[in-house]
Symmetry: C2
């Protein structure tokens, strides 16, 4: 049986917006592993309880279930060593772990401010009350207050991306000459945005604009074909 | 002839405080390459003009001169491939390039605010006017204003280091199970501090405190023996 991936969906089954799930879909494509996705919503806690998880991604490979995008990537690398590597080696994996923490801490909050109201509008009806309540508690303010100045959040996000630009300008990918899990971590941020929001995160002259274009084209345009807005 | 490294010094010849020079001294030790350092001050522009540089580090290896710490590291990796690797491979080198930009952009300005007045007090007399003028122009304020709240800068630095903690807690080093150039980039920040300032940057319970201890002990305590304050 093919690998199954529980994947966060919006109102439509095929609007998939989780940055963490995008990391894993890209990683599965990178490894050339067949998989099918199962649309899941925030309030479907029971559906992933078998994996001792309350969120996605959850990956099921035969009888084995793994949750948490970092643990899933490490699992795939270990379980499929003869497939293309997601990390160049153990030192690269450690550096990618830093990159993940940096992205989640620095980029995710800025993007959330930029798109939260668009995102809310794309949620499945059954998720809306849960999302509003849990996020307003986390942010300490209403969604409307948190997302009230998306243009400022985009400007801050562009600024926070500064240390990545020289890397992709010199090497094409964050991971060097070819894409790796660090690229999928960063790309998850951009797919998250375009799956729910028309916001233009990058200017065409930005080295990251060209990088994102390369990412969207991988594997016959796998990510570009996903439901979302033009970038 | 041994490799020569032009290395920024304070009032005393053996007070060496440049974070960029520390990167390279650690890299040379890592590769097991014999080298001697040449004390250099900010105003000794003529002494490194032969390398088309106005700053250090400058490395001279036989007839070959290289400036800029990133270029020097890449040179050492390429010129001495049979020696222990500074980068695990090309993808790790790309990720380390990101790490360097992140450190310079995020950590260096915070550390400067924390130590600039101590640093100024440790400069060679001939460098003081140059340092004050060039830095006050860069900061847009006096040194005294810029360094006026070191405790706040230390608190912000501790916060900015957050994405590195899970990495060194899990792997001992930023580069994984053994130290690599990303470790030397981060360590340069801490050696910069302790060479000129008694400021306590880290609490003993911090995973980074233990990591710094491991770095100080490498190669028989090479870095710990350098002139500076206890950490």
């Amino acid at each position: 049986m093919a690998i199954q991936l529980y994947d966060l969906a919006g109102a439509e089954d095929d609007r998939r917006f989780s940055p963490y799930c995008w990391r894993i879909k890209m990683a599965l494509m990178h490894k050339g592993l067949p998989f099918e996705t199962v649309p899941w919503r925030f309030t479907d806690k029971d559906a992933v309880a078998f994996a001792n998880s309350t969120s996605v991604p959850v990956l099921v490979d035969g009888g084995h279930a793994v949750s948490d995008s970092w643990k899933i990537a490490a699992y795939l690398e270990q379980a499929y060593p003869s497939r293309p590597a997601l990390f160049g080696g153990s030192d690269s994996q450690a550096l990618t772990y830093f990159f993940s923490h940096w992205a989640v801490r620095t980029l995710h909050p800025l993007l959330m401010r930029a798109i939260v109201l668009d995102l809310y509008g794309q949620l499945h009806e059954k998720d809306r009350a849960y999302f509003r309540e849990s996020r307003e508690k986390r942010f300490g303010k209403t969604l409307e207050q948190h997302g009230g100045d998306p243009a400022k959040a985009v400007a801050e996000l562009r600024d926070a991306l500064e240390p990545v630009r020289p890397v992709v300008a010199e090497n094409d990918f964050v991971d060097g000459k070819g894409p790796g899990f660090a690229d999928y971590i960063l790309f998850g941020v951009f797919q998250w945005a375009r799956s729910v929001s028309p916001v233009q995160l990058l200017e065409p002259g930005d080295p990251l604009y060209a990088w994102r274009g390369r990412m969207l084209e991988l594997w016959g345009g796998y990510a570009r074909k996903a439901k979302g807005y033009p970038v």
